[in-house]
């Protein structure tokens, strides 16, 4: 069975692994197919969130992307639905709602559970300072739900409804981003894959689109906002890499949406919008970037969006949340549970503690002893010096007396003195006695 050896694309990652060339067909390259079959059977989840002011064509775009009426659009003549917000008389303080619609779509045997989350009321009030908050809370609550499921004892059935991508609809002013756009993106870009989209792009000429995109990107860079970019990894073929580059260059996508079929100038029916001056086609890449958006969102980068959500966004949220709750990384839970070892461990710990205490106490004791010694020595020295002092004084007095005695012991001269002064003669021996007695 000497078939040609298959060129091995080995990852350069692990330093210890050596590249090996095989001499026959082993068959593990069939693994992706097995994975594919399994995931097709299981079906996929994808949650898309759309955010933007009302009237920017969010529902229409979603319906156009998935070619099915996921959302009932607020079309022309439903007068009943018309007077919900503004005419109700409230002074423009409509709260942002979060509504979700799920649909199971089947294509070529692949089942997709698509959830679209809409945010009606976003940016529609007079005061929109906190419009972003309900959206962020919703995304984080989905993360929390997943975290709770992960921490369950039985984790076989985990339902993943985390938001995989967020399409943010920008009003086609032609100038730059508005205050509400910047506020929203700054608060949400670390929690979700942010894909900015220029809505209703049919109001801008190609040149205006170019300038507008440049200004939006400048604003995004200036404020440090992180948007989703399709990146190619090292395994992609050059064609895919080139495709990814062209798609990435078009972000933010300038799109239009339409569910209606209209007749083009040459008679053909296409999905698009009909104006008195012409027909704009949804799927014409020269007219708008819809095709690129669909390509990226559905055909090439859906898995990357899901992956990014799971690996990067969710993990960072989880870490932040757990640290905020005061969890500390405790590595002891990773070791095996063994009672004897644990007991020995405890004993060891206890002994260590005891010896430490002992050492401390002896140190303290030694210190005290030293202090006391020092003090005693000091007093001893003092006494000694005093003693010396007194001794010298006495010595001096004795010398004095000796001197006097010798003077008095001299004959004749002293007679007259001794009778006149008998006390002297008597006093002197007594002094001697005294002196002797002292020693």
């Amino acid at each position: 069975m000497r078939s040609a050896s298959i060129p091995v694309q080995s990852p350069a990652a692990s330093a210890g692994a050596t590249k090996k060339k095989m001499n026959g067909y082993v068959g593990f390259s069939n693994y992706p197919n097995q994975e594919h079959r399994r995931s097709v059977k299981r079906g996929f989840n994808f949650t898309l969130m759309v955010v933007g002011e009302s009237g920017l064509g969010k529902s229409t775009l979603v319906n156009t992307l998935f070619e099915s009426k996921v959302y009932p659009t607020k079309d022309s003549d439903d007068g009943a639905a018309g007077h919900t917000g503004t005419s109700s008389g409230e002074a423009g303080s409509r709260a942002v709602e979060i509504t979700s619609v799920s649909a199971d779509i089947l294509e070529n045997g692949v089942k997709l559970r698509l959830s679209v989350v809409d945010t009606p009321g976003f940016g529609d009030s007079i005061n929109n300072e906190d419009s972003w908050r309900p959206v962020l809370e919703n995304i984080e609550s989905r993360f929390d739900a997943y975290l709770a499921q992960e921490n369950r004892v039985n984790r076989s059935k985990i339902v993943d409804n985390r938001v995989n991508a967020l399409l943010y609809f920008i009003k086609p002013t032609g100038h730059a981003l508005r205050a509400i756009d910047i506020e929203f993106m700054k608060h949400l870009h670390t929690r979700v894959n942010l894909i900015p989209v220029i809505a209703k792009a049919d109001t801008l000429t190609p040149r205006e689109v170019e300038l507008f995109k440049a200004r939006i990107l400048a604003d995004i860079n200036y404020h440090g906002i992180h948007t989703f970019k399709p990146v190619s990894d090292q395994y992609d073929d050059p064609e895919t890499v080139a495709d990814n580059k062209t798609i990435a260059a078009k972000i933010p996508f300038a799109v239009i949406g339409s569910e209606k079929l209209v007749r083009r100038a040459d008679g053909q029916m296409v999905r698009g919008r009909q104006y008195p001056w012409g027909v704009i086609e949804v799927e014409n890449e020269a007219h708008n970037d819809f095709v690129s958006l669909r390509q990226m969102l559905l055909r090439t980068h859906m898995e990357e969006l899901r992956d990014e959500t799971d690996v990067s966004l969710y993990e960072s949220y989880r870490t932040q949340k757990l640290l905020a709750l005061g969890h500390v990384q405790d590595n002891s839970v990773f070791r095996e549970f063994n009672p004897r070892m644990q007991q020995e461990e405890e004993e060891r710990l206890h002994a260590a503690k005891m010896s430490k205490l002992e050492a401390e106490m002896s140190a303290v004791f030694r210190q005290k002893v030293q202090e006391k010694e020092g003090k005693l020595k000091q007093s001893e020295e003092e006494l000694y010096s005093r003693h010396q002092q007194m001794k010298s004084v006495l010595e001096k007095q004795r010398r004095d007396l000796d001197e006097k005695r010798t003077r008095l012991a001299q004959p004749d001269v002293v007679h007259t003195h001794s009778s006149a002064h008998p006390e002297h003669a008597q006093r002197m021996p007594s002094k001697d006695k005294k002196k002797r007695g002292f020693f």
Partner: protein, 343 residues
């Protein structure tokens, strides 16, 4: 026996008054003040420049990332003198950059209303002077173009609030400036929604019905009212369409000619604003809005004076009215500032 016709022999000739007025008008010229109210990026500057076929105002939109987003609505009047066939107009276009651009747009309309009222107040002050000029320079706002958001289902909460207040002080003409994002059906639906909501909120836009209108006027007004809000497209560019220069916009799928009535209501708006209702706008400003303002101001002055008189009669000075010594000198003194604070 019918009265003898006096046309041939006894032609008096007072019908030449129209020519006399015209001549005076030509000599004096007139003022036209238009204020543009709308969010940034709605196409205000482009529309005004298209209507007057010259570059009058620059767009004040934020274009670079380093520029800071304005925190309040600014009022930027720009005055230019235009001349057409000997008729001079001192056109002042007042732009309102920063309106509706922040996250929190509460009271973003205050500077606008204040400006309009201030112009009324300035005119009133000059009118009340004992020695007043023969012709007072009219800075009162004659028309307000209010720019609606294309694509919304009708009026937004902000629009409702602002329109209620604006229509009380000036002639408001609602306009959709970037209407090339709406198909013809969408426009019709949008206009209908806007009209319904305006009648629901009792917002009265110009033109107002008046008893003086004759049949012709009424028909004209009703056709104008049908078109409101005007769905227009503005452009300062002249593009080449098969050899003919056309003022419009070139897309990849078609060319918009702003003068084409099937493409946009631009021609109707321009005619309405300049060719048919121009003098009416000025007159209505003077007769309706200014008079309303004047009445309320004078009434307030009278009240304050009455209060002060009562306070003086009661003996001693009342602390609250110390700051209006000027009101005592009516009518020449400056107007008390307090009443105007109520927007």
């Amino acid at each position: 026996m019918a009265a003898p016709s006096n046309e041939s022999q006894d032609y008096v000739g007072f019908d030449t008054i129209t020519q006399q007025m015209e001549r005076k008008f030509l000599k004096r010229g007139f003022n036209l003040n238009i204020i543009l109210v709308g969010e940034s990026g709605m196409g205000k500057s482009t529309l005004v420049n298209s209507i007057f076929a010259s570059h009058l105002v620059d767009s004040m939109g934020r274009r670079t990332a380093q520029e800071v987003i304005r925190k309040t609505t600014e009022i930027t009047p720009v005055t230019q003198t235009l001349d057409e066939n000997g008729v001079r107009v001192r056109l002042t276009v007042i732009d309102t950059p920063g309106f509706g651009d922040q996250c929190n747009n509460e009271r973003c309309w205050d500077p606008v209303i204040r400006y309009i009222k201030d112009q009324h107040a300035a005119y009133l002050e000059r009118e009340l002077k004992p020695q007043r000029d023969r012709v007072i320079n009219d800075t009162r706002v004659h028309a307000c173009l209010y720019f609606l958001n294309p694509g919304s289902r009708g009026l937004r909460p902000l629009d409702v609030e602002v329109l209620k207040r604006l229509t009380e002080v000036t002639n408001v003409i609602p306009v959709i400036a970037k209407s090339d994002s709406m198909t013809v059906e969408e426009r019709t639906v949008f206009k209908r929604h806007v009209k319904e909501e305006m009648s629901f909120h009792r917002i009265a836009v110009y033109p107002y019905p008046s008893e003086e209108d004759d049949e012709e006027d009424r028909m004209l007004n009703s056709s104008i009212k049908d078109l409101v809000p005007f769905a227009v497209v503005g452009s300062e560019e002249i593009i080449d369409v098969n050899g003919t220069p056309v003022r419009g916009r070139r897309h990849g799928w078609g060319v918009i000619n702003i003068f084409d009535e099937t493409h946009s209501d631009f021609v109707h708006l321009r005619n309405f604003l300049l060719r048919t209702h121009l003098s009416d706008l000025i007159e209505v400003t003077s007769q309706r809005h200014y008079e309303q303002f004047r009445t309320s101001q004078l009434r307030q002055i009278k009240e304050i004076r009455a209060q002060q008189a009562a306070a003086a009669a009661a003996g001693g000075s009342m602390p609250g009215h110390q700051m209006q010594p000027a009101a005592a000198q009516v009518p020449t003194g400056p107007l008390p500032q307090q009443p105007m604070a109520q927007v």
